[in-house]
């Protein structure tokens, strides 16, 4: 989903960086809270980053004949909440900028805004909405991860369209061209992400590491204490 280095004009690169900055600071506070609490929470954070590393490295072939990758943001949002995901996403993006030349520093703000902010936000809202309307835990989680992934690419397409409007059809025309590239390609990839998210969460829940009710809190694992959970299982 990365917008390549240099492919956003200077003004857009500044706008998206400034737009993401407050959420980055919000995320720093979230992460700080996580790591100053129990060691288990630090472990959860490590797991969330690790999951995102794996998923962003898998460039999956899609039905359209091009490849795209998952984001791993949905899984993390469930565990550490949307705020901390701003930092997790930025770490993953920076790794790819420096070592793989995917994405870039001038497009970091825009990419982080799409992947580390909107993706987790959409995931969080979809989960809350579905769960409240009585949808089962696994379907809610699956849909939240899938839609979070799709939302990220939607935002990327908007960002590209704003920066590179079509000479004839304007921003709207450019948007439909960009979403044409990402859209259908991304659907199977998003479904893969949804399935993987449910699978790993299944392992965590069935081993009593987290309880379903603890997932998707705003700040991430409020009241999370691994020992208590283990007792509940016994």
């Amino acid at each position: 989903m990365h917008i390549m280095e240099g492919y956003l004009p200077v003004q857009w690169s500044i706008i998206w960086s400034v737009a993401f900055l407050p959420f980055f600071i919000w995320g720093l506070k979230g992460v700080q809270q996580l790591i100053t609490q129990t060691p288990e929470k630090r472990m959860v954070l490590a797991m969330v980053i690790a999951f995102a590393f794996v998923l962003t490295s898998l460039k999956l072939p899609s039905v359209t004949g091009s490849s795209s990758h998952a984001t791993g943001m949905g899984f993390g949002t469930a565990l550490v909440g949307p705020a901390s995901m701003g930092i997790v996403g930025t770490i993953v993006l920076l790794f790819q900028v420096f070592l793989l030349a995917h994405g870039g520093l001038t497009t970091l703000g825009a990419n982080a805004f799409a992947m580390a902010l909107i993706g987790p936000m959409v995931t969080w809202l979809v989960y809350q909405g579905l769960k409240r309307s009585g949808v089962s835990f696994r379907w809610s989680l699956f849909s939240a991860a899938v839609l979070g992934n799709l939302a990220t690419y939607m935002v990327t397409s908007v960002q590209l369209a704003l920066a590179h409007p079509d000479a004839v059809s304007g921003v709207g025309g450019a948007f439909s061209k960009f979403i044409g590239i990402f859209g259908i390609t991304q659907i199977p990839v998003a479904i893969v992400e949804g399935i993987l998210t449910v699978m790993v969460m299944n392992v965590l829940v069935s081993n009593g590491f987290v309880h379903i009710d603890q997932l998707f809190s705003k700040k991430g694992l409020v009241g999370f204490k691994a020992k208590e959970v283990s007792h509940e299982v016994n």
């Binding site: 240099g6 590393f53 590239i181 399935i195």
Partner: protein, 103 residues
């Protein structure tokens, strides 16, 4: 235990589903090379009538495909390593607790 068994079964089914998707994609994609979607976006921008010149370039890029795949594998290995280490820890801890409570 019943709960755990049903979750295991569900995960095997999900794994099967997971494998089907890329396989079907490869089949439907025909003789395409499955290039990255973000690369196609770059092609599209480059093809626009008003030529856009990228104003900044990556500080460092892997010299070739081999180094790039090395770094991608490294990323996946790091992630999978940490993830599976923690899952192993969780499972081991649960087993130890169960053993302790059975005594």
């Amino acid at each position: 235990m019943k709960l755990i068994n049903s979750v295991k079964k569900q995960n095997y089914l999900l794994l099967l589903l997971l494998l089907i998707i890329p396989v079907v994609a490869l089949w439907l994609g025909g003789d395409s090379e499955f290039g990255g979607a973000d690369g196609k976006v770059v092609d599209l921008i480059d093809a626009q009538q008003t030529a856009y010149v990228p104003w900044f370039e990556n500080i460092w890029a892997p010299p070739g495909g081999e180094t790039e795949s090395l770094l991608f594998s490294l990323q996946a290995a790091l992630g999978a390593g940490v993830l599976c280490y923690i899952i192993g820890y969780i499972k081991g801890k649960k087993a130890a607790m169960e053993a302790a409570s059975n005594e």
